[in-house]
């Protein structure tokens, strides 16, 4: 039950796969239902780089043999970890990925490189996990849209210049577009495509 206890083994999954995934899913569901709110996942899983604890738990909860994952180069250990725990294939083709893990760094594939779904089936889009430095202390953003009463202010830190323009462009394609889960450590924040993200300082 208590995943934060000492004695972590490198590369283990949920202590209780059934209930661990259930609790994690509820946090993800809450995060995407109320964009901008921060949810702390229960367990502290040490997965191989580049997977943070939050990204690992999210993927253990949602991925399986039906969901190709894109991790980028140099993630062989993480790929092995995911194959072992979730059975998910790790793919090199950005457009084929149902899930992707970014670090929010320049030089990574832009958000519009991932599958945005199609007009008849916008649900076929990818979900992109963005591992930030922190979910606060960064550039001030104002969020609006479903799940937000009025507006919500957030300030995730550590993403590259231009990232929020990509996020805004992603929203402009609504109902197409990818959905984002920002992760720092084991904290997560949802930014679905339905959320309008504006830079608080520059625009207002």
């Amino acid at each position: 039950m208590d995943g934060t206890s000492a004695g972590l083994t490198l590369g283990r999954g949920f202590a209780d796969p059934v209930l661990g995934a259930q609790r994690c899913f509820r946090n993800i569901l809450a995060a995407l239902s109320e964009p901008g709110t921060v949810h702390v996942l229960d367990e502290d899983i040490a997965a191989p780089a580049p997977l943070s604890s939050g990204a690992a738990q999210t993927l253990l909860t949602l991925s399986d043999y039906e969901t190709p994952i894109w991790l980028g180069a140099g993630a062989e250990a993480a790929a092995g970890y995911l194959r072992f725990h979730s059975g998910a294939p790790v793919v090199a083709d950005v457009g084929a990925a149902r899930f992707a893990v970014l670090r929010g760094e320049a030089g990574e594939p832009p958000l519009d490189a991932f599958d945005p779904g199609d007009e008849r089936y916008p649900d076929k889009s990818a979900t992109v996990i963005v591992q930030c430095a922190a979910l606060e202390g960064g550039e001030g953003l104002t969020l609006a849209g479903p799940g937000i009463k009025g507006q919500r202010r957030v300030a995730p830190a550590g993403v590259h210049d231009g990232f929020w323009d990509e996020v805004a462009a992603n929203h402009d394609r609504y109902p197409l577009g990818v959905d984002l889960i920002l992760v720092a450590g084991r904290s997560i924040m949802g930014l679905p495509r339905s959320t309008l993200v504006t830079r608080t300082e520059r625009r207002r």
Binding site: Q22, I148, K149
Partner: protein, 306 residues
């Protein structure tokens, strides 16, 4: 008088909440996409369930994919906790998930419903799961899925507006009383399931998360909290809800949806709250309706409950 039942022992012969983990993951992924595109119907690999199609298998799969041992579940059908299918579904989850159940709307973390939204406002953190027989609001206008999917893709809802306007031309009003279509987040026309249009105003800007499961039709959709939901109408014929000439005969509520109960074969009838818990709470707080003391009133409030 209010029944809350602590966690019973789970039937270990089945996986937690009955569904296998792969199925739960598939449903969970569909739920997240549904939340990300409010009102859009996500196809999902609906499983065959030990309950009949049309009897809540969509809602059950959604609840089973969301529920955990710490949840408290309320199940209602027609607004009432003691209707047979609500009892049956509550028993199912008590058995396969070992969760606590309740009739108190405020105490529930998950409420599975058929045909009603509780009268008491829902709070943040609650999840309302709807059982949906026909998720496609355009189905009665266009039987082919290939066509209706295109209409949603293009946001082409002209057919629906024409249908509603024909009602107005003919009857002077929109003659739809339940499953009244809504526009969600300004983009998708959605069926709210066969709730009475009386409940439509509760769909929008709701603090709770609303999830919709159609098992036979294999669709999931959602309304996140604080989402704009508009019942379709016209400037000169604004949307309006049902009203009754009399309050609830048991608790005197004048703001609730009422069921009609025929009390004899001479045309006598009484109107009582469809939300059984709401009515009970009001009576417990001392509200007395016109016929609470009558034989039928006693039967409805005491005799039928055990």
């Amino acid at each position: 008088m209010q029944k809350s039942v602590g966690p019973p022992k789970r039937d270990e012969a089945y996986n937690f909440a009955y569904l296998d983990e792969q199925t739960k993951r598939m449903v969970r992924r569909a739920l997240l996409k549904a939340v990300a595109v409010p009102g859009y119907q996500v196809p999902f690999g609906s499983r065959e369930m030990p309950l009949a199609r049309g009897w809540g298998t969509g809602g059950i799969q959604v609840t089973a994919s969301v529920i955990g041992p710490d949840d408290t579940l309320k199940v209602i059908d027609q607004g009432a906790d003691d209707t047979t299918n609500a009892v049956s579904i509550r028993r199912f989850f008590a058995r396969v998930a070992g969760v606590a159940t309740t009739e108190a709307t405020g105490e529930a973390s998950i409420i599975q419903t058929r045909h009603r939204i509780p009268e008491a406002p829902l709070r943040a953190g609650q999840i309302l799961v709807y059982q949906v027989p026909q998720p496609e609001p355009l189905r009665k206008l266009e039987p082919k899925e290939a066509e209706t999917r295109k209409m949603h893709a293009w946001g082409d809802y002209g057919l629906m507006h024409v249908r509603l306007y024909e009602d107005i031309a003919r009857f002077g009003r929109v003659a739809t009383t339940y499953s009244y279509p809504v526009l969600v987040n300004g983009r998708y026309v959605m069926s709210p399931s066969p709730i009475p249009k009386f409940d439509n105003p509760k769909l929008g800007m709701c603090a709770a998360l609303q999830l919709f499961g159609a098992g036979r039709e294999k669709r999931i959709y959602a309304i996140p909290p604080w989402t704009e939901v508009k019942s379709l109408d016209f400037d000169d014929h604004p949307f309006e809800v049902q009203t009754w000439d009399e309050p609830c005969a048991l608790c005197g509520a004048a703001d609730s949806y009422l069921d009609e109960v025929i009390t004899d074969d001479k045309g006598s009838r009484m109107f009582v709250c469809s939300d059984s818990h709401y009515c009970e709470e009001r009576r417990a707080a001392g509200h007395v309706g016109r016929l609470l003391g009558s034989e039928t009133g006693q039967k409805l409030t005491g005799g039928a409950k055990e």
